[in-house]
Symmetry: C2
Subunit: 190 residues, 2 copies
């Protein structure tokens, strides 16, 4: 009775959700298959195996997210503070509406073998470092070590989301604004 539904997307969404919740290692093929309503073999039509699947999904989601933030950070027509604020709002919105995808890229990165992580091309931290470096060059913010301050900003901005994911922090409607203000002060502006 009309089952032209491609299961691939269901499998992938399910996998991301479970990976994001239980972690890579504790998630079994059986988990994914049964939750997705397919048999375990179905998975191997699309991927060579569990590890490869996780890695491909991870990179896909990471790139999707990174591209989104990139567009905001390097929108040349806005001033530094606006861009940073908008980027943080974008991140918080992304987390709000794509909690599983976000938690997946945020929490499972340490679950991959180190060699794989070397081959990652896109990386948010590098992007933010470039962003800050440019701002320093233009005199928009006081001089600072761009790499170090990129990590401070990223750490500060993401930590509330990590804690929220674990049910340890409440997020309010204006949390992203408070975070932005804090980050601007951290950079010694405003």
């Amino acid at each position: 009775m009309s089952r032209p539904v491609i299961k691939r997307e269901i499998i992938e969404e399910t996998a991301i959700k479970i990976f994001a919740t239980k972690g890579l290692a504790r998630t079994t093929i059986k988990d994914i298959a049964s939750q997705a309503g397919v048999t375990e073999g179905a998975l191997y039509r699309y991927y060579d195996g569990k590890e490869e699947m996780a890695w491909k999904l991870f990179n896909r989601e990471l790139e999707k997210f990174t591209r989104l933030i990139f567009q905001v950070l390097f929108e040349e027509r806005m001033c530094f503070a606006l861009r940073l604020g908008l980027a943080i709002k974008t991140i918080y919105d992304y987390y709000r509406y794509n909690g599983d995808q976000f938690a997946f890229i945020l929490l499972t990165q340490h679950g991959f073998p180190e060699e794989k992580l070397q081959t990652k091309t896109t990386d948010p931290v590098d992007m933010v470092a470039t962003f800050i470096g440019q701002a320093v060059g233009r005199g928009e913010i006081p001089p600072c070590d761009a790499d170090l301050f990129a990590s401070l900003i990223m750490g500060a901005a993401l930590q509330p989301l990590v804690l929220h994911r674990y049910g340890r922090l409440k997020l309010e409607a204006d949390t992203h604004n408070q975070v932005t203000q804090a980050c601007l002060r951290l950079l010694d502006i405003a």
Copy 2:
């Protein structure tokens, strides 16, 4: 010829080192045993199994670290800024001289099942939130959401160490000072 050496400590140090490097799931009993120079069975004299061992070591190390920071944060004779600065210096020193232990508690926490993490009693984030809440109460720092700002501070302070561990950021002798200054500004003092 004189092997009164208790292997337990060797096993534990080795386990922590490998856990911190490869992650909980990718570390096998065989890894630990062979690196520690014992057979796999030896491990079961001291622990009921791999999972229990990892969890006990994790809590032990977390408590050791938390207690250290606690003493600094709640040393009543110093002002807020000094205590925060000293705490951050203490963290950075701890990381420097106990890299494996630190990375173990920092990076493997997401590898445990969620139920276990619920039972954790000591937690650095709660501690920092209390610390900030007290400072607000005393008027040492401007009013703010203690929980949120605790997570901002923790995120900012720890992120450089995470990145350093992955070889993505250099740490200089004065990095902890820069981090401290940034955190003080973030809290809107100095």
